[in-house]
């Protein structure tokens, strides 16, 4: 077996020896172990992903079959769907909470909460995060925020009704939105979530800067960690802005301040500026980690070094930088100064450049490779092809004149789902499968994974591609019943088609849920390095023990030395980062910085 070759003496075998046995509570609930915290995040955010998905199904029912009783809808209370027929006010709650849950409590924690926690220390050779206890608090605060948000469904008037973007003054004035309590819960939840994200991000940044193993130089860091590091920087700088905005919104709702109330001199657009100044970096928080993990998987699946490692890193940094100066493109139709709009248009179009670099470099990595189509690789290739569509459709909206008919229509809904579902979620399906053995010591089912990928790929495109067309036809976002408009009536059959596809897409995801849960107990036992990968994490047993390495590993080379001559000399096509060849010298460990 090839994966025995790089086993390091002392790297495993009772790796937990220096830790006294812990009770169940210490080990799994109030854990400070970054891997357990990652797994906690995984279960919680998968739950919220399911919640978001269920909300989406109801939205699709209403759009496909407006006014018809929803199957099973009769269990909903009279205030939401009497007799199973969705009410307009419930419909807006659905779209609001679908967006909120998916963005803040599913995709963001899945990418950052789960994989920043799980991968950063494992991939840079650290024993844990820099601040394990703050890390634990970050998880519990995120869960608290999620529960506060979830509670919105069960208070009088129901969940918030202002869209996930919470545009003021609709969100600020209960008399206009019709929601009192839940609107405040939204603000409180976001403030708590912001705190959690900042705590997490401070941890990730400090860990990456200070806790790398000897020899793990900046340009030997795996791309996933680079992406997560830059994401953490975005998080630390962007989330406080949203927190500040949410606090002002909360004060408007409860203390009688007038930040967003034009009647008393406030500015309605101020909310949009603050929200999108956070919101666009947030968009990259939702895609950069996916890009990083996909890079990891594509290099592994292609058995080739990543094409243009340095430009990949600079592309990540470039996207993150541009992310701060493009927020105005969400406000092209808002009555913003048109000259400002021109500036934002150019900066937005420029994002195509680093994105193109990434896509072509992924293709360059696959070019003349030896492609192994394991499930993660399938999903990663799916990511590249779908992200490309999402990126290209963005150009339509970046060009301001073309944006006029497309803004706030289903076209933008298609675009965001091509990036967040076709992008982030495909990457996550790949990542979950790829690192599943590291988390749980077992493999997910390969045949089931392949069936899931292909069915998802097909139903996903059937669901979201036609949305471009109905968006071009002019269907506005968040409207309860498109059939009352004459110009939308002809395309109602397409809406029905999308709804059926969406139901199928949801059903296919149950396959993934089954695979995930079933493999926990009955999956094949994972070998130590199931994917023949180079990463430091695979020098540990599966699952890795608390504290990771007994002795900090040394790093001798970059993360993507697949098919190198040295590897071939060993009769394999991979070369783990921690494997010492006779020609390698040990990196010098630096002295500890003084504690003051």
């Amino acid at each position: 077996m090839t994966h025995v070759a790089h086993a390091k003496p002392g790297a495993h075998g009772g790796g937990d020896a220096h830790h006294a046995p812990m009770s169940f509570w210490q080990k799994y609930i109030f854990s400070t172990d970054h891997k357990i915290i990652g797994i906690q995040f995984l279960f919680v955010s998968l739950f919220f992903l399911l919640v978001g998905g269920l909300l989406a199904m109801q939205i699709r029912w209403q759009l496909g079959f407006p006014g018809k009783p929803m199957p099973g809808g009769s269990i909903l209370p009279q205030t939401m769907a009497p007799g199973g027929v969705i009410l307009p006010e419930y419909y807006i709650q659905l779209v609001t909470m679908h967006g909120t849950f998916m963005v803040f409590f599913a995709i963001m924690p899945l990418l950052v909460g789960v994989y920043a926690n799980f991968l950063i220390p494992l991939k840079i050779g650290a024993h844990d995060m820099a601040f394990p206890r703050i890390n634990m608090w970050s998880f519990w605060l995120a869960l608290l925020a999620g529960l506060i948000m979830f509670a919105g469904f069960f208070v009088p008037d129901g969940a918030p009704r202002a869209g996930w973007t919470m545009y003021a003054p609709l969100s600020a004035r209960p008399d206009l939105s019709g929601v009192g309590v839940a609107q405040k819960l939204w603000s409180v939840s976001i403030v708590v979530l912001g705190l959690s994200s900042v705590m997490g991000s401070v941890n990730y940044i400090t860990t990456v800067i200070n806790h790398r193993a000897p020899g793990m130089t900046w340009f030997r860091i795996p791309l996933s960690v680079w992406a997560l590091f830059i994401t953490a920087i975005l998080g630390v700088l962007a989330l406080p802005v949203l927190q500040g905005a949410a606090i002002m919104l909360l004060f408007d709702q409860s203390l009688g301040t007038h930040f967003f109330d034009p009647v008393a001199g406030g500015q309605a657009l101020l909310w949009q500026h603050l929200f999108w100044f956070f919101g666009h970096p947030e968009v990259y928080i939702l895609i950069l980690p996916a890009m990083g993990m996909v890079s990891e998987i594509i290099a592994n699946g292609s058995r080739k070094p990543i094409f243009g490692y340095h430009s990949m890193v600079f592309a990540i940094i470039g996207i993150a930088f541009l992310g701060w100066i493009v927020w105005g493109h969400h406000m092209f139709m808002s009555g913003m100064n048109p000259t400002l709009g021109s500036t934002f248009m150019v900066s937005t179009l420029l994002i195509a450049v680093p994105s193109a670099i990434k896509v072509f470099n992924w293709m360059g990595t696959m070019w003349r490779g030896n492609l192994r189509f394991h499930v993660p690789m399938l999903n990663a290739v799916g990511f590249v092809s779908m992200f490309t569509i999402g990126g290209l459709s963005g150009i339509f909206m970046a060009a301001t004149p073309v944006d006029i008919p497309l803004h706030d229509t289903q076209f933008i809904v298609a675009h965001i789902h091509y990036v967040l579902f076709g992008g982030s979620l495909f990457a996550l399906f790949g990542a979950i499968t790829f690192w599943y053995p590291k988390m749980f010591g077992r493999m997910m089912s390969e045949p089931l994974g392949k069936v899931h990928f292909w069915l998802t790929f097909i139903t996903y495109n059937m669901t979201f591609f036609p949305m471009h067309i109905i968006g071009m036809g002019g269907q506005m976002r968040r409207i309860y019943d498109p059939t009352i408009y004459d110009f939308l009536k002809p395309q109602q059959p397409l809406n029905v088609f999308i709804s059926y596809s969406a139901f199928a897409l949801f059903a296919v995801q149950l396959l993934f849920a089954f695979n995930f849960l079933w493999s926990l107990k009955f999956g094949k036992k994972a070998p130590q390095n199931p994917w023949d990968d180079n990463g430091l994490e695979w020098s540990l047993p599966n699952p890795a023990p608390h504290g990771n390495w007994e002795k900090t590993p040394n790093v001798y080379r970059g993360p993507y030395e697949f098919s190198s001559p040295e590897a071939e000399a060993r009769g394999t096509d991979f070369l783990p980062q921690s494997l010492k060849l006779p020609t390698d010298h040990d990196p010098l460990p630096a002295p500890l910085p003084a504690t003051h």
Partner: protein, 240 residues
């Protein structure tokens, strides 16, 4: 300290020579947090600037509504507490764990960590107390987050002299003033509580030494940052 963090401290990983920040993790983490706090205050102060620029009627004249002498005293207190903090830092770096000690040849006694940190805490606590008094007085006069309260003394003054009291901007004035100074006060309170905690768990038991006084340094960074924010706030809220 939990078991896990103890073992982690024992097996702190070595630092690669040519990389890393060159400072220990807690300090680095505090700086990253401060950067994030800058963005938080950007949201609040930025909104104030944006809203003030957007008003069509003039803002209230400095000192018309707010009590500048009182907050001037507050500013003084915060500057004093900041310098006391840095003196505490210098004291423990020199190994002075004591409260006060007689130094030969000098009339004033020499302050150690215990003395200077106590001064810091007292000044900080006094700042918060004065701010609470200020709030109570302002609200009593009729200045609330929603603007000038109907029928209050302030509303009468404002009606008589709308330019001086910025009648047209009362709502914005109240909103921004209370939010900005309120969150600054919240930061000060958090700092005072943390310092009290350190004072009783680490400073009085003399756990800090010239080899390890990370706690003093990072709480100091936070404290100076809060002072820095106040310097900006005092000028743009009270004086302009």
């Amino acid at each position: 300290m939990t078991h896990a963090t103890q073992t982690l401290d024992q097996m702190r990983p070595p630092f690669p020579a040519e990389t890393g920040s060159g400072v220990y993790s807690k300090k680095l983490g505090m700086w990253v947090f401060l950067a994030s706090d800058v963005m938080f205050f950007t949201a609040l102060i930025g909104s104030y600037i944006i809203l003030r620029f957007g008003m069509s009627t003039p803002w209230a004249k400095p000192g018309a509504v707010l009590n500048v002498p009182l907050t001037g005293v507050n500013t003084f207190l915060l500057i004093c507490s900041s310098v006391a903090m840095v003196k505490a830092y210098a004291a423990i770096a020199d190994g002075k764990k004591y409260f006060l000690r007689k130094v030969p040849g000098k009339t004033l006694q020499d302050g150690g960590l215990k003395f200077w940190l106590l001064v810091t805490i007292l000044c900080g606590a006094a700042f918060v107390s004065i701010q609470v008094v200020e709030y109570i007085k302002l609200i009593g006069e009729g200045f609330t987050p929603a603007g000038y309260r109907e029928g209050s003394l302030l509303a009468e003054h404002a009606a008589a002299d709308p330019i001086k009291y910025g009648l047209g901007v009362a709502g914005m004035y109240g909103s921004t003033f209370f939010t900005m100074t309120g969150f600054h006060g919240f930061h000060v309170t958090c700092g005072v509580i943390s310092m009290l905690y350190l004072y009783f768990t680490k400073v009085l038991p003399e756990k800090y030494s010239p080899q390890d006084y990370a706690g003093i340094e990072i709480i100091g960074l936070y404290w100076h940052f809060v002072d820095l924010v106040w310097i900006i706030l005092f000028t743009i809220v009270y004086l302009i």
